[in-house]
């Protein structure tokens, strides 16, 4: 593992994109940043602008309106960018998979590096997924 890769995996800045979510995954993602779980010990920060992001967290079912937004965000982000699909909706579509407005799970729209299933996934599962992702790139 070179110096560049080492710095990259030690400092993953996260941008959170919530699709048409039921809000449970959003709450679990926020839980990861609270004192009990504290993602900052891995150097992970939640950033406000997609231009600063290294990881794009996507949760919720992606409907037809969200699809364009998600593509926009993906194209605006500086590469290398990791994409993480969180929750049953993000990974497969979950119970919305056959809905009329559903525009496909995340990996049909943009390439996904990690899937964290669950409805919603526990904060421990999200942390485990992100740590494994940081290890995989190394």
């Amino acid at each position: 593992m070179g110096f560049k890769e080492f710095c990259f995996r030690k400092s993953l800045w996260v941008f959170h994109f919530g699709g048409a979510s039921c809000n449970n995954c959003d709450i679990e993602i926020i839980d990861c940043l609270t004192p009990r779980h504290d993602l900052e010990r891995f150097g992970i920060l939640l950033v406000g602008s997609i231009r600063h992001a290294d990881v794009l967290l996507v949760n919720g079912s992606i409907n037809r309106r969200d699809k364009d937004r998600l593509l926009d965000l993906y194209n605006q982000a500086p590469k290398p960018l990791l994409v993480v699909a969180i929750g049953a909706c993000g990974c497969t579509g979950g119970i919305f998979a056959e809905g009329n407005t559903f525009a496909g799970p995340v990996d049909k729209i943009i390439p996904v590096d990690a899937y964290i299933p669950g409805c919603p996934p526990k904060p421990e599962a999200i942390i485990s997924g992100i740590v494994k992702l940081a290890g995989k790139k190394g």
Partner: protein, 309 residues
Amino acid sequence: MAVYLFYFLVFPGLIFMAAAGGLLSWFDRKITARVQFRKGPPLLQPFYDFFKLLLVKETILPAQGSGFVFLLAPLLAVFGAAMAGLFILLPLFNIETGFRGDVIVIFYLLTLPSFSYIIGSLASGNPLAAVGASREMKLIISYELTFLLVVAAVIMKSGQKFDLDSIIAAQQAGSPFIGSISGVLLFIAGVFCIQAKLGLVPFDMPEAEAELASGIYIEYSGPPYAMIRLAKYIMLFILPAFIVALLMNGMTNGTGILWLILKIVAIVLLVTLIRNTNPRLKIRQASSFFLLWMNLLVVIAIVLAAFGL
């Protein structure tokens, strides 16, 4: 000539200031984490962030707007911060005496990072960046007068000495300026000024992550953003050092270097605690805070100083 280049680039210039500022930035984040009962980032986290942005990430130029100015502004910010830091640290470490009137030059150079953020964010053509830039302008207008008055009061207390070396020498011959009532008032005003200059809560409205999505920095990515982070690290080191030089006796001989480190860390701790116990102000509240209350405080300090208190 070569020795000045060494001063500017290595010690006490760019590399030393970046390293010290990075460690102080870690200290700031660690204290923030401890205040919130979190564990906090590892020691070298600011350097990981910097090198990731510099080496790994891609630079994206805004489609509308001026790419040249957009890229030049972060370099200008680093230059201003490093140059100001050089003029502060050379007298502070007793390496060179500086020149007559360098306090004024330092004062102007310290505004250069804020100005270049404004230029860069306006060049990006992003509306949120424009809102952030206008807020930064109002903030500069608010705190610069207070900061100038603090510097003027210190010049008055030192007996009309316009260079940093003589100000430090005047304190070491007598007593530190913070030991008097007017000195305490100046210290309070000075700490709030550096809080605003560093763009930390409660004066982080140009950045305002929640409403403006990083405001003035919104369009920056990759190496230019790394330069902005570098300028912020340097500012986090040199502004407390400037306060130490103006009010807190500088560095004495012998064990002075330990005291100097302790003083700088103490000021950063104070700034961090203010940052963690306050909400973000509205721009109007910040303006009236500086233009009315802090100016009043400094004017009282000047009057007290005229009576020798």
